[in-house]
């Protein structure tokens, strides 16, 4: 491989280099990561189930109990982000702490807290939605599109 040819858009060098990189690239410890995600994700959902059962036992409807559970889980995710614990959890659990709704709360608090120094409107107010914004946008688009199809059929 000629190093002198390692210029911009030198496809030949780039392809060979990519191969060389694949040989030394550290592989993610997949099994360890999957176990971590499974256990932590499972535990967070189990905590959710505890609250769900508690609210059901208070004679709330299934729907209200779910909503209350969501609210509590979001509160916990936000609190542990504020306490500086959630990023440590995420470093180990990966998707196990990102995918549950607590991870959604984390994605709201983390940028909002960090951009507080840029003010309450353009810092906290705007950055709150850096990650949550796209989630809500695409969630709403999905529900409108599927809803429209549902309306056409029925």
């Amino acid at each position: 491989m000629s190093l002198n040819d390692s210029g911009y858009k030198n496809q030949q060098f780039n392809q060979r280099y990519q191969k060389m990189y694949e040989q030394v690239k550290p592989k993610p410890p997949l099994v360890q990561n999957l176990v971590g995600a499974f256990v932590v994700g499972g535990l967070i959902c189990t905590v959710g189930q505890v609250f769900q059962n508690y609210f059901l036992a208070m004679n709330l409807s299934v729907k209200s109990a779910s909503a209350m559970t969501t609210a509590v889980m979001i509160f916990l995710g936000a609190l542990f982000t504020g306490l500086g614990v959630y990023d440590e959890l995420g470093r180990r659990a990966g998707a196990g702490s990102t995918v549950p709704i607590t991870g959604f709360a984390n994605s709201i608090v983390a940028p909002a807290m960090e951009f507080k120094r840029e003010g309450y409107v353009l810092g906290v107010g705007a950055k709150l939605f850096v990650i949550a914004g796209p989630v809500i946008v695409y969630g709403l688009l999905t529900s409108v599109v599927t809803g429209f199809i549902y309306w056409l059929i029925h």
Partner: protein, 334 residues
């Protein structure tokens, strides 16, 4: 006689002296391999300031002041300061310069800025345009992280190839004359872009630039790899370092016995920095805290110091551009 050699190199006629160096670092770096070598280790990542950006400016001020103090010079004896950092519009550097009140040029070469500043400073000294020059850089993990990647409190998992931006600042004072380690030659790098897009694999993206500049340096100066006691790259990390060794091997040379990467010299394995350190201060911390004292004491006699920088931005990354990289080499001998 023209001081340019070959295609990209310079041989200094009156090699400028590095008369002092100083470095300040954050707490994680303080617990790392170079912990005992820093002039000052901050207790937290704010250093008594109220934002990470202000902390970075503060670190640079401290590093420059400390380095100048070691030479016995006064700040007003410094003709020019050449400095840079990673933040947009060089805010860490520009704000640090407010209180120093010296003529100043801000430079951006991403993590290669220390080598870049030293080369330009050495040229100014050899050219007779100055007597005392300070070259300095800084980087701050949290300030860089929020600019380049995600908020620090976001629970995102870092891949094993990722590197950890060093929270530190390093400064060297360069002078005409005097005894001490001297900058004898330099090689200015071309942009090399191997087409990689993963910002979690910056070392591998920069490795071809580093190997290219290193190889060109040998060609231009007629020196061989074993001319140097040690060759150091700036912040390629363990993966990038392995790639440089392989790229140089492909050229028919072997640097595996006298080559190290500064990114592998900052953190301990147990510190969870994965592939090693990165950032402007990776090379600067290693140079100012560790390599300079080794050179000054004569434990190291000839080193080739290669700053490596990946010149992408969050915008270019989001627009799916690959990462252009650069590397500049500085030969330091005593």
């Amino acid at each position: 006689m023209n001081k340019k050699r070959g295609q990209q190199s310079i041989i200094f006629k009156v090699p400028p002296t590095l008369s002092a160096a100083a470095a300040i670092a954050g707490p994680k770096e303080g617990e790392g391999l170079l912990g005992n070598y820093f002039d000052k280790v901050m207790e937290d990542n704010l250093g008594g300031q109220d934002s990470w950006e202000k902390c970075e400016s503060y670190m640079m001020e401290v590093a420059i002041t400390a380095a100048v103090k070691k030479t016995g010079l006064l700040m007003m004896d410094i003709d020019f300061i050449l400095a840079g950092d990673l933040l947009n519009q060089l805010i860490a550097t520009n704000f640090a310069m407010r209180s120093l009140e010296r003529p100043f040029l801000g430079l951006y070469g991403a993590c290669s800025t220390m080598a870049e500043s030293m080369i330009i400073g050495a040229m100014m000294l050899d050219g007779g345009f100055a007597t005392n020059i300070v070259a300095a850089v800084s980087s701050h993990h949290d300030a860089a992280e929020r600019q380049y990647r995600f908020p620090t409190e976001l629970g995102a998992q870092r891949p094993l190839g990722a590197q950890w931006t060093v929270t530190a600042s390093g400064a060297v004072v360069m002078t005409q004359g005097n005894n001490g380690p001297k900058v004898t030659a330099a090689t200015i790098g071309k942009i090399v872009d191997p087409g990689m897009k993963d910002t979690n694999a910056m070392g591998p993206a920069m490795a071809p630039a580093a190997a290219n500049t290193m190889w060109q340096h040998f060609q231009d100066t007629g020196r061989s790899p074993d001319y140097y006691d040690m060759i150091y790259t700036g912040d390629l990390g363990s993966v990038g370092k392995e790639l440089v060794i392989r790229l140089i091997k492909d050229k028919g040379s072997d640097v595996s016995s006298n080559y190290e990467d500064c990114g592998c010299m900052i953190y301990r394995e147990s510190q969870d920095a994965h592939a090693g350190a990165s950032g402007c201060a990776s090379s600067a911390a290693a140079l100012c805290a560790y390599l300079y004292p080794q050179l000054a004491a004569g434990y190291l006699k000839k080193i080739l110091f290669i700053g490596t920088g990946s010149l992408h931005s969050p915008t270019s990354y989001q627009q799916k551009e690959s990462i252009p990289c650069v590397a500049h080499a500085v030969a330091i001998e005593i």
